[in-house]
Subunit: 440 residues, 2 copies
Amino acid sequence: MSDQSISRSPGNNLDPWYANYAERTSGLSASEVRALFAVASRPEVVSLAGGMPFVSALPAELITGSLEKVMREQGGMALQYGSGAGQPALREQILEVMALEGIRGTVDNVVTTTGSQQALDLVTKLFIDPGDVILAEAPSYVGAIGVFRSYQANVVHVAMDDDGLNPDALRETIAHLRGQGRRIKFLYTIPNFHNPAGVTMSAARRPEILEICRRNEILVLEDNPYGLLHFEEKAPDALRSIDEDGVIYLGSFSKTLAPGFRVGWALAPHAIREKLILAAESAILSPSAFSQLTVSEYLRSTDWKAQIDTFRGVYKQRKEAMVAALEEYLPDLSWTDPNGGFYVWLTLPDRLDSKQMLPRAVKELVAYTPGTAFFADGRGRHAMRLSFCYPTPESIRVGIRRLATVINGELDLLDTFAGTGPLQIASREIHVSSPPPNIS
Amino acid sequence: MSDQSISRSPGNNLDPWYANYAERTSGLSASEVRALFAVASRPEVVSLAGGMPFVSALPAELITGSLEKVMREQGGMALQYGSGAGQPALREQILEVMALEGIRGTVDNVVTTTGSQQALDLVTKLFIDPGDVILAEAPSYVGAIGVFRSYQANVVHVAMDDDGLNPDALRETIAHLRGQGRRIKFLYTIPNFHNPAGVTMSAARRPEILEICRRNEILVLEDNPYGLLHFEEKAPDALRSIDEDGVIYLGSFSKTLAPGFRVGWALAPHAIREKLILAAESAILSPSAFSQLTVSEYLRSTDWKAQIDTFRGVYKQRKEAMVAALEEYLPDLSWTDPNGGFYVWLTLPDRLDSKQMLPRAVKELVAYTPGTAFFADGRGRHAMRLSFCYPTPESIRVGIRRLATVINGELDLLDTFAGTGPLQIASREIHVSSPPPNIS
């Protein structure tokens, strides 16, 4: 401090600026789970909680080679500001990536973003006034719920089953909300290898869901970070391949290449993408040219499809390890068995509460994400998300064995105290309100 | 399109989703100046319009060396998600950078962002409800005005002079607004080598301005991208060096290294930075680890202060070329003569309108940014911002000569038609409402 220091008398609480925040800021609160995850990042804990891709399966020399080439041939451009819409060469290549899932678009309608998370943020900013409704699967991606809440949206969940979002439930939910005079702005859906549910929307349901939204003039926000990470047959073509005017499609290189570049994108109907670019420029001026050109060079000079095949093999093996361990250690429970992606959704007996159980699990050196993180309405206590993307198959097996110890221990306790009323295992309420780091 | 295509009948305007946007989105409109700047990016046009740093003065091998080292030694971390607050090692180094301007902070209170533009966006999101007032210098940074508008703030300008923001004007403006019952959330200020005005807040005024804000419980948002780019003596110590509880400080590597990495930061009081991290995680999960580690390695392994000296020399020479050309070709006009940064502010005779004149200037192969871009209230017609950061001294001289031709031509026309009423030089209104690309 200089000797010109101004002394400020402390306000009547710990934050002198407390009264000055915007209304929307009250929706941002630190999660108690965050502290637990900090503990869970210790190496002795098997974390089945995060969504970190296994980037060690990516040969570093492929990236280094691309980097050197970019600096040698396009250094001036890589170091400079760029277009708010993103680098044209990369946007052309993104069309090729999307073509693998049946999408035809034009380069003009592609906007690259700082991860697809930023696209989610910008679309929400463009469309959501406080109190507007966003429809989302039950459960849905924790990071999307956080963004929606940060713009004061009301998230209304729609039931899903093994074939994904349920069209009848969608119709009923829309009718019910319309009956109440609510404004529904869009449907947020993750059709492929759902985060956290692990299921995929069937091909038959896709046009039906789109037709329901079209009739009700509800925009569809299709989030597809995992589509190319299928274990057997590929996922059905994207919703965007069926309807180009009613769908904003979000894609990402975080899972098929690496999240460290923070390169994702949106493909939007023409009028929307105009506004998306203005919103993106307002938020960050332009996305990193350096990151984008590196990804572009990687796509140009390497066999990126073969690299995705490698990732597929890694994740398939890990998924199989997780399902085998669940069958061995927790045969009485039910779980989803995904055909791609990163996640299994485990359903617990109704008597168990995954939030209250988490501190005990961390004590037993295993971590997961409680189901409540994936609902905006407090549901999810009797479920959890298990990630198989990052730990080795051996660690996954150890983790599930520890989880079984915790679950069986809880059930034993409940049996012991049967008839003495509901058991409060942990007195402290754990509140999940924003995505902890690395949960994506 | 697949054969499942849904045909959508066009709405009653060009955007079928027109009725669905949020209220705030009406503040986003494409600038007509944007189209002109697209023309102005042709190589034969001397652009004095952009804010692009001259990255060619940065030896590419310094960056390539840092990149290779990062991939060799920290590749796994560079490719992965990171902390929402940013990489700890870089945040430590940012403390050293800020110490050059008298700032003492703790690493905990530093948050790295996707350029300091993102920090601007996040702070505005945290504090601004629709209708809240933000105080800003008259004129102010076009990209800040765009962000503030995107959250429906009312920007109220406060007069500045050659010593920067005027304390008396600040007192009067606050009293006036308070008299109207308006909610003032923060003062946005660029104390050093102001964008666009080119002036620097005097050392004497700094504690006075802080004291006015402290008494009125108004937070100060100090934006300092140019502080280290002084031409002679350094700028006075940062506002943040005098008051650590009342100031959010924004810094950037875009001007002292390169914008292509998109690495900036905020240093905020403890309670605010907690919310800033939550908002940042909601917006992008985490900033690019790859970019941050590269910047960190560059700071560790190169003489970055010598590189800043190189930039200073380049920009000083260009500023001198611009001022000399103004003295030669436009001796009757007045302009600011900055001691650092990127910009000169040129005041025109009241009879001239810089917005209306821009198409003619582009036709004469010179571009500038009309003064109206830097006001939220329509002022600025009789001024323009001239950037000397990117073109060579020779180009600057050519550009100013062309500008003089345009200005003198307009004045001749006005003299010819004197007495026939106000002259409408261009019939088309040019509306600046969001920053065109590369105007920063």
